[in-house]
Symmetry: C4
Subunit: 255 residues, 4 copies
Amino acid sequence: MDEIEVVEVAEIETEPSVLVEGLPGVGHVGKLVAEHLVEEFESRLVRRIYSHHFPPQCAVDEDGTTELTSAELYELDADGVEMLVLTGDHQSQTIDGHYKITEALLDTVTEAGVERVYALGGVATGELVEEYGVVGAANDEALVEEVAELGVEFGEGEPEGGIVGVSGLLLGMGERRGVEGVCLMGETSGYLVDPKSAQAVLEVLTDALGFDVDTEELEDRAEEMEEVVKRLEEMNQEPGGMGSFPADDDLRYIG
Amino acid sequence: MDEIEVVEVAEIETEPSVLVEGLPGVGHVGKLVAEHLVEEFESRLVRRIYSHHFPPQCAVDEDGTTELTSAELYELDADGVEMLVLTGDHQSQTIDGHYKITEALLDTVTEAGVERVYALGGVATGELVEEYGVVGAANDEALVEEVAELGVEFGEGEPEGGIVGVSGLLLGMGERRGVEGVCLMGETSGYLVDPKSAQAVLEVLTDALGFDVDTEELEDRAEEMEEVVKRLEEMNQEPGGMGSFPADDDLRYIG
Amino acid sequence: MDEIEVVEVAEIETEPSVLVEGLPGVGHVGKLVAEHLVEEFESRLVRRIYSHHFPPQCAVDEDGTTELTSAELYELDADGVEMLVLTGDHQSQTIDGHYKITEALLDTVTEAGVERVYALGGVATGELVEEYGVVGAANDEALVEEVAELGVEFGEGEPEGGIVGVSGLLLGMGERRGVEGVCLMGETSGYLVDPKSAQAVLEVLTDALGFDVDTEELEDRAEEMEEVVKRLEEMNQEPGGMGSFPADDDLRYIG
Amino acid sequence: MDEIEVVEVAEIETEPSVLVEGLPGVGHVGKLVAEHLVEEFESRLVRRIYSHHFPPQCAVDEDGTTELTSAELYELDADGVEMLVLTGDHQSQTIDGHYKITEALLDTVTEAGVERVYALGGVATGELVEEYGVVGAANDEALVEEVAELGVEFGEGEPEGGIVGVSGLLLGMGERRGVEGVCLMGETSGYLVDPKSAQAVLEVLTDALGFDVDTEELEDRAEEMEEVVKRLEEMNQEPGGMGSFPADDDLRYIG
């Protein structure tokens, strides 16, 4: 097995000009949106990316079978819009792995005709979010203008720490190769898996690409999360409660 | 010395179709079983795997001689069943090392005729175990069915975090090379070296492969561990005791 | 993208014999000076250094556009003194990256004619500084003598821990290639971004190279920092104050 | 600069059959002995080993000049015994670096005729040592017997955690290349630089190799350390004292 291996699971049959990326990250926002697309539309797994830079493990499926850690590239036709969607359970565990995996990914998707990347993620606000805004960044000025018209907040150097991981590199390395890149980051507390933030990002994405998608599944998950949050707040107000919310790292990705 | 070096200590003389792997891990369950096999049957050390990814050190034997860190591959005939057994004192210290060591191991054992791997380990329950169940996973559906008949619990995505290290990669990477892989994980608290859990795993393994083995040694070690646990519980209940059990990371691998 | 990539953004048009290096470090002293030079003189970005060893991310500019992490090499004519200036937002994230980035940098600047390097930084005193001394080191005895005449403090093995990162390697690796190297380290508490310390270093640098530069901008930033320090000290003396200053790692790089 | 670079500073003029290694480690015992030999006898620096695996920094000498991090190999004639001595300020910062540096070192010294290595270090007892014993290990049974006659304690698997770093690898990797290796470890608390432990190790070494050496310098340093320890103990017994000794990691390598 090579350091990075892009395995062809199936031929890419459509002519996708867009890649949507949603790997795990803040509030799991990007991953929620990417997985939602894969589930809502008829999607086909076309590539698996294996790498020495992913955690050295296999996942165990519900039926007891195992799957070597990988990132998955799906092909789907979203209501007329052909696209590739990348998702997976893990980011690279090493610094150079992020670069190498992104490079391999860009090789793969540009060969398939992709000219623009939508990298999806969350931006942590540190407090429970009331109105779910979407913050954007793009690797080209014209692109900033184009996407700003969709109600995305741009500029003032947000997010301050930059965009980390494959999302950030898709824009940064994409620019050097002439691939347009937009990053859409849903505002989220940063403490919990956040399907509401995912809905906000998905809305911008559907506007940008011009397709419709059922969001019931995300709404259901959002309601479940609201229940969790409510319970946590109650626990918090009881005598002997945690005093501040959230008090425990373990709560971060309840979901 | 190369990054990975598989040194031939002796020729493989039998025709093993099975590899049993038991490196250190949760409760040292896998290692206990693998070492038990090596001790109970007439076994021959056939390969040493050295690697830049193992801790940079040598062990000191009881007679004062040293041994460079390695994983050891033994050949043995378990009551008519010819097998290779991998054990050792360390896992890879790096992420890519796990992949590279597993690759080298698969190269070595498939060349020797191995077609199926039993990767042994423990799964932490977080509390003292009353009944020692064995959780399984396999890299093929038919294999899941076959092993489920031996009383192994499969499915519901357990263990949740997947199977980490060489055990997980033997299944994940093995699948890509056509090597059947079963992982047998003994339930164990996760706090102590657990010979009882090892006995439970060994029982499944002997059923699966159809051989008998004396388990007195493991039973003796299990009794010793029970003594240790009892003493810890008593200390815990004394005034000024630890209040919760176990209170100290250092207790984790008493044994 | 290669492990290290030095991209030519523009041709180097002058004949610089000096490199001034100011990457992030103690008190951000070196970076403040390097950026000040780039801003005060007409400077041209001539090279970007990208690397797998920099954090895998892109920065987001004020207008919402992104920039892949890099170190930037500028060309400028400081009042008649032609020089290259290296600055950037990040140091290497890996040990070997420091060596490889320094090697690539030395290749680039020696090819452009550079014969001497001024590596700028801060040296932490652990307490608020009253008089801003500059500590020096050089990779050649004659050079120590030359720079000592400018009022720089040399010797007694200061700084005790050596000079870490690209600054240290420019001197150490430069020596092996026949490149003269001087390190100028402004004394600074180590707790805050320190424009006053940067002024002290800049003063030595202008003396050494024989040019003048307006320092108003640094003075303004120094005043702002003094306000911050004053407020922190007041907070500290209030009932319920922090008791010691600074109490919090987060204060370290307020600025 | 390559990953590992062994630079010839001077030709090796004698015919050393022995390497003495003393890099930093527990109680700095090995380093103290190695440096003592280099200082007491007429020694010549013959090789510098540079590496991407050493900390990326330069040291600053007392005169203000810098020195890129390296390990140093000296040639000396100890009262008729020709030997090479390796010392330096740092161990490898990476796992594979230990292996690669040891490999390069073995290449260098075997080419010079070395057939046996004495790797020196300390073994932490966790409490202040009254009688300074020396624990040994060797990569060959006959060698264990030979050295045991010098009063070195062998066996019972001590030290339990094995021998870590270049010392351990010199024995482990040396064995594979036919180089005899003895490790001599002075008992030391582990909390302080320990010249007394170094004296004990030096005594065994001089017995083993058959030469005499003045130890006044080490005795002086030992007396200084005793003063430090006494003061710490007094501080400890004062009202408001630390309650246990030593209370602070920072005390570990006072000296």
